[in-house]
Subunit: 337 residues, 2 copies
Amino acid sequence: MNVTIKDVAQRAHVAPSTVSRVIADNPRISKETKERVFKAMEEPGYYPNAIARSLASKMTYTIGLIMPRSAEDAFSNPFFPEVMRGISVVAHNEKYDLLISTSGNEEEEKQAVINMVKGRKVDGIVLLCSRTTDELIPWLREEKFPFTVIGKPLDSKGVCWVDNDNIGASRLATNYLIKHGHKEIAFISGSLEFVVSLDRLDGYKLALEENNIPFVKELVAQDEFSEDGGYNAMMRILKQKKPTAVVVTDDIMSFGVIRAAIDYGLRVPQDVSLIGFNNIPLSAYANPPLTTIDISTFELGVKSAELLLKILKNKDYMADHIIVPVKLIERKSCIKR
Amino acid sequence: MNVTIKDVAQRAHVAPSTVSRVIADNPRISKETKERVFKAMEEPGYYPNAIARSLASKMTYTIGLIMPRSAEDAFSNPFFPEVMRGISVVAHNEKYDLLISTSGNEEEEKQAVINMVKGRKVDGIVLLCSRTTDELIPWLREEKFPFTVIGKPLDSKGVCWVDNDNIGASRLATNYLIKHGHKEIAFISGSLEFVVSLDRLDGYKLALEENNIPFVKELVAQDEFSEDGGYNAMMRILKQKKPTAVVVTDDIMSFGVIRAAIDYGLRVPQDVSLIGFNNIPLSAYANPPLTTIDISTFELGVKSAELLLKILKNKDYMADHIIVPVKLIERKSCIKR
DNA sequence: CACCTTAGTGAAACCGATTGCAACCAATTA
DNA sequence: TAATTGGTTGCAATCGGTTTCACTAAGGTG
């Protein structure tokens, strides 16, 4: 059996409560006692049991992270590790651990959250990506459980979130292509059940409108957030239309789009220009190097964690949001026409 | 306050212990009582407190993962997310959570482990990458705490590990270059304080020996596991020697090596051939596409988690290890000479 | 001198579950 | 009829801490 607080108490000839106070560095304990207790902890190698401590104090010092979709997909898109990196840096600085739960589908995702929240395993949660149909956010809000979300929720009332200005970012990307002389611009994104896809579609439409370019629905397609998804979406478009440029809201999808273009006998960028989103490491090395919108993925993670910790430290922190800036990274996948 | 087991007990007119047994699906409880208890749980939305349960049962159903070095670096090398992906898939299937702790340096790494182990936060740990100087492994072994390690430890007595045959893999890579007519082959790896670097160096030497090629220590360099590390290592070699080919034990480093070669006025692969390790997604899209050793990173994660769970289910599972096969992926970064 | 602070510590309740053991009841056996 | 047995369930201890409250002794105040 392990050394417990009682063993230490006996050794130091004090009560367990005193030892507890020493650990908490309670100012009401005298220097002498503190030293005595510390000594009594040393030799047997005492270390407080975090579980017991959590049970009594109702603090876990861990923050929960729900990976959307199945873990298989989540980790293979560099977006998620990158955002996790941001979260984990902040967590680590503040001595918080990260509890990760992966889920295969929306139902499992909900179970994972319930498990963390009702099971009292974490102090707060950061949610990745919000769906339009998300039941989690209303549920968490009702439970009054601390959480932040990356990606502005559809109904953002009373929730803390961190996101880019997705409408603006997409408008920026589209305008960039328009300024390069393109008029037949396609738009490929993930499923419209994600708010982010919706917003970026709006930005795209906005840019077209500003430049009196008609919106053509055959130039728009959605598919999975994967290389294959990009490939399939592009193929569907090419069967009907011949865009000279395309906005793709995910770099990984872009690779599929490039592949589809090539399979179709098109050269990138000579025949079709391309602008991506996320600026994942791969995009700089792609062929051609991808012009893309850098959404500061790392920063998204950092801010979401910082925001969550702020909430944890000040329970009635009011709903708040943070917009992380984007930046257009010019490389070689777009040409003037 | 939340609904507890006592509330449910009152509602169902039974003792808390009975409720507990119902949750555990104890066969000694009659069907009628079970139903009554289930009903009493439903309405108030009872959910067992995992912390309290852990305290009493000494099981957490979470496995710990220690990210080596600082989280900043760890997540930016796709190796780690990929191995995590493997672990998390297995964990998820077995209804285990993942507790992640990131550390800045070796000292913090140790603290993180102690915190998990002595704090009883996890049932077992999977360790990523073993250093030659690792104190963690002996410590965990002495504590008799269940763990597995990815990467064969120097002293593997009594520990369960998962790894590739690194000597063989490196020999394979080197022989591939030799068969392509290369004789001046450089070898670039991460620090030799990692066992994996050591093993791969041995494999390289072995291949040279088999082919009666003298070992030249100016053709060997170590540096950080990063793009810059690769760049610097290659530059150091180029200042002294002119290899026609190089084995690089990490794809990310390879990119730096390519950059260094280009900066030095060399073309890849025309002037210098290159073979990498890991087969990260990026390597297929690199310019030139990278010939590399696929070490089945995902599988490494899967096996390490499976092994750990096996240990957890059968406490005195004997020390064991699993070798995950490697595969040479031929692309365009090597030419015959 | 009686009264009030204040500092320092201990006793005991509590956090929300699990589990060994005793107890009970009805049915069976001797 | 008494004892045994098997199936159910409750009591109470336990897991390892935190925290409220009470208490003691020393020092300060009017």
